[in-house]
Amino acid sequence: MEEDGTKLSLTIIDTPGFGDNINNEGSFSEILKYIEAQYDEILAQESRIKRNPKFQDNRVHVVLYFIQPTGHALREMDIEFMRRLSPRVNLIPVIAKADSMTPSELALFKQRIMDDINFFKIPIYDFPIDPEEDDEDTKEENDALRKLLPFSVIGSETEVKVGGRVVRCRQYPWGIVEVDNDKHCDFSKLRYILLSSHLQDLKEITHDILYEQFRTERLSQEANG
């Protein structure tokens, strides 16, 4: 696909069935295994004597974790999942179906989630600032984005004509919710982050920090075991 003039090759991984069972304790091992499998492949490739230049990097650069809009706080499963996965991958929590909450409810919910995340010290991707490299603008931008976490999203594929324009939206008997409207949800901001502004940052962190972490652990495991 093309975004802002640059060609992107995007792989989307979906996880149907997650959390649907009565006993969900085994759910995230599947996902974790997949992520680590990709890392393993890279590790194997790097360690080859003759490396393949055309090797496809299948590592997961970001995970969007969809939180149910209960309005209370994070559930046990949310906390467990985020805890286990964030050491391995950039994790961005997202509030799904944000059109089920009024603006005040949404603000309160976001606050509670961030409180939980801070309390349990879950290392999510929070737009880190590199004090040496980044300039003031980037700092400001990242600060503002951090305040918006977790992002509220509304999804829709239906397009409707509203006031002369054609928008993607959800139609209710009491009104129309626009997906791309910043006042209705954070979707467009998230899209911009993922596909333009922070794409590089996400990739760099995956490669420089997360992968290296994995590599160290894996190799010391093999050395000891």
């Binding site: 009565i22 969900n24 467990e80 509670r112 209710y172 008997p173 009491w174 129309i176």
Partner: protein, 346 residues
């Protein structure tokens, strides 16, 4: 009335909206002092006396916080099922005892199961729990947070849920139809499972104050039948079918439970123990009769005695009266004599 469902689906809000009063406090955010180690589902009971159009309703609302919240929700329905059975048992015991007081009837007459508006279908937890509940209580599934699904999505979701319910043989409550021209009940049945929106906030729409949820893009109204089925559900619960819910619980569910329980404890109608009991009670009846006879005899004797006594007293009185009369006569004669003498003197 019991409300069962995962947290955050609006059960407490629904209860407050239904009765227009703040019956239930909202879930207090637990202080995250420690991890959620205890995986318990608790049962909260709230009693209230409500007046609805001049009728006093003693309402008991049973909430189930903690349900479906955990990673491993195995057997999370057990506390609820046990609670329901316990109420039947308590009532059964009270019925059997010789003191048939108006026992505190905590039996559940309607159980609202809150379904998450995923738009897909029921989860395996939903199915398992509803199966268990449907055999013990009038089960009314409702789709919570009805303002999350568009009209078409909602229709499709309702159909899928109904398909699921029928496929698994879940016993859902349907109000009885009094004849074919009962339009209201038809409408109610067609709308099941009900989608509900709950709110205890009042918002002004077109100059009128309504209860609803105010979004940036509009107001989802609680009592607007185009928006959700809240009104229909309320009618079913409180107005039209309350009696049916109660009688159905008593006649069907309670009797089912009783039968299961008694057969489980080894009793049957031809049981020798039962027969022995019957004989015992026959003998007891005889003894009772004999006692009663003796009692009547005693009473009769006493009465005869009293009558005699009464008669003696009457005789006494008559005699005394007669004496009195005689004396009166004597006095009169003497008076006459005095008069004559006085007349002769003149």
């Amino acid at each position: 009335m019991a409300t069962v469902g995962s947290s955050g689906l609006g059960k407490s809000t629904f209860i407050n909206t239904l009765f227009s009063t703040l019956l239930k406090d909202y879930k207090q955010q637990p202080k995250r002092v420690h991890d959620q180690i205890e995986r318990t589902v608790s049962i909260d009971v709230v009693r209230a006396d409500i007046e609805e159009k001049g009728f006093n309703v003693r309402l008991t609302v049973i909430d189930t916080p903690g349900f479906g919240d955990y990673m491993n929700n195995q057997d999370c329905w057990v506390p609820i099922v046990e609670f329901l059975d316990e109420q039947h048992l308590t009532y059964m015991k009270a019925e059997q005892s010789h003191k048939r007081l108006e026992a505190d009837d905590l039996r559940v007459h309607a159980c609202l199961y809150f379904i998450q508006p995923s738009g897909h279908t029921l989860t395996s937890l939903d199915i398992e729990v509803m199966k268990q509940l449907g055999t013990r209580v009038n089960l009314i599934p409702v789709i919570a947070k009805g303002d999350t699904l568009t009209k078409e999505d909602m229709k499709a979701f309702k159909n899928r849920v109904l398909d699921c319910i029928n496929a698994h043989g879940i016993n859902m409550y349907t109000p009885p139809l009094d004849g074919d021209d009962d339009d209201d009940t038809h409408a109610i049945i067609e709308a099941m499972p009900f989608s509900i929106i709950a709110s205890d906030n009042e918002v002004t729409v077109n100059g009128q104050k309504v209860r609803g949820r105010e979004y940036l893009w509009g107001v989802a109204e609680v009592e607007n039948e185009q928006h959700c089925d809240f009104k229909k559900l309320r009618n079913l619960l409180i107005r039209t079918n309350m009696y049916d819910l109660i009688s159905n619980t008593e006649e069907n569910h309670y009797e089912d439970y009783r039968m299961k329980r008694l057969t489980a404890s080894g009793l049957s109608d031809d049981d020798p123990v039962r027969n022995a009991q019957k004989n015992m009670s026959a003998k007891m009846k005889e003894d009772e009769e004999a006692l009663r006879k003796r009692f009547t005899e005693q009473v009769r004797l006493e009465e005869a005695r009293f009558r005699k006594w009464e008669q003696n007293l009457i005789a006494e009185r008559d005699r005394l009266n007669k004496d009195l009369e005689e004396h009166h006569k004597m006095v009169k004669d003497l008076e006459n004599d005095v008069e004559e003498l006085q007349a002769a003197n003149r």
